[in-house]
């Protein structure tokens, strides 16, 4: 697989890790964004309270809605990450590209983290709202859980193979088939349980004032930035691992070649010393 290289944006001496000017800027932007998100989520927005005019009873999610400002963005990142993995898998099978293989693997790893967080934050949100940590009938919960399992399996599978080309091809098949499966899983669980708790409390039900919606979207942007930062670092790690593999291999071959003249000389000497002294060859 031919690999073309381009010069990095910083000089070789500065590169002591996977950081670069881009990631530093992005990182600070994300931290600033998270601070603003925090402000939006906890100070500037109101809790979800709805007053029933007839009975004057106050209902709603109250402050638990503030969990959605992390749950919703994290879920969006999950789907983005696995979508990128699917695209990468297609490119690996189509173009046999190492770059896409490393990208797909990096995106899957970050995706599994965010998928786990989606499940955890969703479960924590669900406890006060639905009065349960886990609801079997909920479509999105079931689908996200299975998505999580599929990609945990994908990562485990990648670890079992050492040949990078075989690994790229086979894990691309696993990733792609897994991704294709998700809409089917979604549909089948949706049929399974027509009413889902997700529908009982959705964005539409919230007293959605502009600031709430803005906070959700802002949160999505910030966390996509966090995802990009993590992805870039994880990609560079994968790339370095690939370099280490191929460098190690090249070195080993070079060393063997360097040994060759000595090895031949030794073999000839040995053959001569064990020859009979007749000097006659038939």
């Amino acid at each position: 697989m031919p690999i073309a290289t381009v010069e990095p944006s910083t000089t070789a001496q500065e590169a002591v890790g996977t950081s670069s000017r881009l990631t530093k800027i992005l990182g600070f932007a994300c931290l600033a964004g998270l601070a603003v998100l925090f402000l939006l989520a906890f100070v500037l927005t109101d809790p979800d309270e709805r007053v029933d005019e007839a009975t004057n009873i106050v209902t709603g999610q109250f402050d638990a809605v503030r969990l959605l400002y992390v749950h919703f963005p994290v879920a969006i990142v999950t789907y983005t990450a696995f979508l990128l993995n699917a695209v990468g898998s297609i490119m690996v099978l189509w173009k046999k590209s190492t770059w896409w293989d490393i990208t797909a693997a990096a995106s899957a790893e970050v995706g599994v983290l965010f998928c786990g967080l989606t499940l955890v934050t969703g479960s924590i949100w669900g406890r006060p709202i639905w009065n349960t940590w886990w609801e079997w009938g909920d479509v999105r919960l079931m689908t996200t859980t299975i998505l999580f399992l599929i990609f945990v399996g994908y990562l485990a599978y990648r670890r079992t193979m050492t040949d990078s080309q075989v690994r790229a091809k086979r894990s691309a098949v696993v990733g792609l088939v897994g991704a294709i499966n998700i809409p089917i899983v979604y549909k089948s669980v949706e049929w399974w349980e027509n009413r889902t708790l997700h529908q009982q409390s959705t964005l539409a039900d919230l007293a959605v004032e502009d600031l709430t919606l803005f906070a959700m979207i802002f949160g999505m942007v910030v966390f996509l930035g966090v995802y990009a930062w993590l992805l870039i670092h994880r990609f560079r790690i994968g790339w370095l691992e690939h370099q280490a593999e191929t460098t190690g291999l090249e070195q080993a071959i070079a060393e063997r070649r360097a040994q060759a003249p000595d090895a031949i000389r030794n073999a000839v000497t040995q053959a001569r010393s064990s020859e009979p002294e007749t000097g006659v060859h038939q």
């Binding site: 890790g17 109250f62 992390v70 983290l113 967080l117 934050t121 993590l230 560079r236």
Partner: protein, 47 residues
């Protein structure tokens, strides 16, 4: 603020897990970069 425990748990676990993962990535990156001395070029184009 109501549900404060859940809020701390949800936000705390999320930001904590992401932070730990970020730190581990940086560390892995440093270790690997040390092992690949001459080839510290970070990008490869797709081919």
């Amino acid at each position: 603020m109501t549900h404060i425990g859940y809020l701390i748990a949800g936000w705390g676990i999320s930001l904590g897990a992401i932070g730990l993962y970020a730190v581990s990535l940086i560390r892995r990156g440093k270790v690997l970069a040390a092992r690949v001395p001459a080839e510290n070029r970070r990008w490869i184009t797709s081919k």
